[in-house]
């Protein structure tokens, strides 16, 4: 396995670890961003082989991530209105 693929997979699993261990909504959202980021680089590496048409998926995923973050942050605002912690175990 070359180092590029290894570091992408490692980043993805580190983002999963962030979700598991941090138990905070803010960390959770950031971890999702990092996971998407690492997977998008895999897409970008494959664009050279698959052609330009493949790159439309890239923009589509980016738009979905942006939309998901906007919704996620607004949900976070609602959830933490009457609370002093953003721990999702409480």
């Amino acid at each position: 396995m070359n180092i590029e693929i290894f570091s992408i997979i490692l980043t993805f699993f580190l983002s999963l670890l962030i979700i598991l261990f941090k138990r905070s909504f803010v960390y959770f959202l950031v971890a999702i961003e990092i996971a998407f980021n690492s997977l998008l680089i895999l897409f970008a590496i494959n664009i050279k082989e698959k052609g330009f048409e493949f790159s439309t998926f890239f923009i589509y995923i980016l738009a979905v991530v942006a939309a998901e973050t906007a919704i996620g942050l607004s949900i976070l605002l609602i959830l933490t209105k009457g609370r002093e912690s953003d721990n999702y175990d409480i």
Binding site: I3, I41, L62, A67, L73, S74
Partner: protein, 149 residues
Amino acid sequence: MKILFLLMPITAFLILISRKYTHLLFFFFLNILVTSILYFFLKLNFFGLVVLLLYLGSILVIFVFLLPLLRIKEEIKERKFKVILYLLLTYLLIFLSLNLSSLFEKNDAYFEVKKFSEIVIKDYLGFELVSILLLVAIVGSYILIKDEH
């Protein structure tokens, strides 16, 4: 380039061990920066710029402005000042800034924005529905946080 690929999991690990939201956002910023530079190295300048604008320009800024609104009491006590960590980060930033200038000079863009835009407009016009998705997200988030009174 391989060093840059290795910096991506390192910044993710720094997020994992960070204990304050400000540190989290700083390491997130570094992660995005490294990722966008990787796109430039892969000769996909357009995607590098899109990632840089979208993540640094919108998502990170939203995070920065949102944190004071949350009014969360940070229960974790701050650690002692880690000199080695901050020296490492300073070295990283210097390394990146030195390499950035040479990156723009030598890079022959593989990705042609003109060709890509022609494909999106002519062949994949349904792709424009993504903008509706973003609009729905904006309206949805407004409805969610709207004060009833």
